[in-house]
């Protein structure tokens, strides 16, 4: 069988059988931003200028990006013998600078960014944040487009490259760039009476915080339920702001919850049990789920089984980065 070759910046690189474009380029020293390596975060976006990429490498991409030949390098395994010419996604990146980094809780940072040109996005979508050296991670937007500054909620991961840098070294004025937006977890005006169910753990709150405010500002009249989950009360954040929002909007129900250490104001128990108690018949709801994969995927399945239609289920899974054994290139 003939070998596959990828051309990047006027040099050809051979791919091993079954190797992805991302792995092959990194192995041979080409710097390509990447994070999840599972087709979810869109950090590894590249553009094919000639040659064919399989459909699987374009799953989840917007039509406008597909039409321009963009694909996800981490899930792109070209048919054997393909000759593919590629370029990076620099054209899709917007220069940005860090405006502020401040704590929202002991474990969560609020990072505010300004962009050189306004970013066209819907509240709840996510972007890739790129450091100047090419380190890339995805973060959901907690801000609304009208607010100007982009707001991210970043959980501090012990030993985490991006979250560690943001919490210890990043300073106001630092240059970064932003790629995106991506993701379909956002509010679409219409069906204003439909009940909405939002649930997330940890920084899964970030997109939900944007979506809830977007829905309220768009004039949503149906009940809106927001379930925020954490292991302990210290894991919750923005509770005062959300309680205040609930005081101002009678249709908005805010339900913070923890696995241990509940109180008068904070429910204790598993998130899916609490959801079932408060929303026993969610058929006909529209749901938004964000955060760690285990919870999001199991909640999604439970909600589908209890009658939610797949088209009304919007979920973004925060897949962590997966390092390569022989890490090289951009990492």
């Amino acid at each position: 069988m003939s070998m596959t070759h990828v051309k990047h910046e006027s040099k050809w690189y051979p791919l091993e059988p079954e190797e992805s474009v991302l792995d092959g380029l990194l192995r041979q020293g080409v710097a390509v931003p990447n994070s999840c390596r599972a087709g979810a975060c869109q950090s590894c976006l590249m553009r094919a200028t000639s040659g064919d990429v399989p459909d699987a490498a374009r799953v989840g991409l917007k039509d406008t990006l597909r039409a321009q030949g963009y694909f996800l390098a981490c899930v792109c395994k070209p048919v054997a013998g393909t000759r593919l010419e590629v370029s990076g996604a620099d054209a899709l990146r917007v220069a940005a600078r860090i405006e502020s980094v401040s704590p929202l809780s002991p474990s969560v940072l609020r990072v505010r960014l300004s962009t050189a040109a306004p970013l066209d996005y819907r509240a709840g979508q996510y972007v890739s944040l790129l450091r100047e050296d090419g380190l890339a991670r995805s973060y959901s937007l907690a801000s609304l487009p009208r607010e100007g500054l982009l707001e991210l909620h970043v959980r501090r991961i012990p030993g985490g490259l991006m979250s560690g840098w943001l919490s210890e070294h990043a300073r106001a004025g630092d240059a970064v760039s932003v790629q995106g937006p991506a993701g379909s977890c956002f509010y679409v005006p219409g069906r204003f009476e439909q009940p909405l169910l939002l649930a997330g753990t940890g920084t899964g709150l970030a997109p939900l915080y944007g979506i809830v405010r977007d829905a309220l500002e768009s004039g949503h009249t149906g009940p809106i339920w927001l379930f925020q989950g954490a292991r302990t009360p210290e894991g919750l954040y923005l509770t005062d702001e959300l309680r205040e929002l609930a005081r101002r909007h009678s249709g908005f129900h805010y339900r913070p919850s923890v696995l241990t250490g509940g109180s008068r104001d904070v429910a204790e128990g598993a998130l899916d049990v609490l959801i079932r108690a408060e929303c026993p018949r969610p058929a006909g709801f529209r749901a938004f789920l964000c955060g760690d994969s285990g919870l999001v995927l199991s909640l999604r399945k439970k909600l589908f089984l209890s009658g939610l239609s797949l088209k009304d289920l919007h979920a973004d899974v925060f897949l962590p980065s997966t390092p390569r054994a022989e890490a090289s290139g951009a990492r």
């Binding site: 994969s293 995927l297 999604r300 399945k301 589908f304 089984l305 009658g307 239609s309 797949l310």
Partner: protein, 127 residues
């Protein structure tokens, strides 16, 4: 019955693509909640699972289908290795029957669909 009506596929008589989209939700929900078979559908990518279910429903109702016997074999070989057998196949067919009945499909049409589904048994079970 006129010949024209007879030539119409069940797919067309049910209402084509929109009807399939509605049917697949009901059908997939039944399949996922059945403990005898749900472990064969544990794929976390629900969208992809649902689109496979839809392709299956489209095929057995005589719609424009991308499935061939060869694809059915290849697509189920890994499940056969994990123990997929006649009992599981019967359970899926049963859910198909109750889905169609629930959606008000006329008995003769249900029978036609089940006959086509039954014809896929050898391919699905790789015999």
């Amino acid at each position: 019955m006129s010949t024209a009506a007879q030539e119409k596929s069940v797919y067309e008589q049910m209402g084509g693509e929109p009807a399939m989209a509605a049917a697949v939700e009901v059908f997939y929900r039944k399949v996922l909640s059945d403990e005898r078979i749900s472990h064969f559908f544990e794929d976390v990518d629900m969208e992809r699972q649902a689109s496979k279910q839809k392709a299956f429903l489209t095929m057995v109702t005589g719609g424009p289908s991308s499935y061939s016997g060869k694809d059915m074999r290849a697509g189920h070989a890994h499940l056969v290795k994990r123990g997929l057998n006649d009992g599981h196949f019967d359970a899926v067919v049963e859910h198909l029957r109750s889905t169609l009945e629930e959606l008000g499909v006329a008995a003769p049409l249900v029978a036609r669909v089940l006959a086509i589904a039954g014809g896929a048994r050898a391919d699905v079970l790789n015999r």
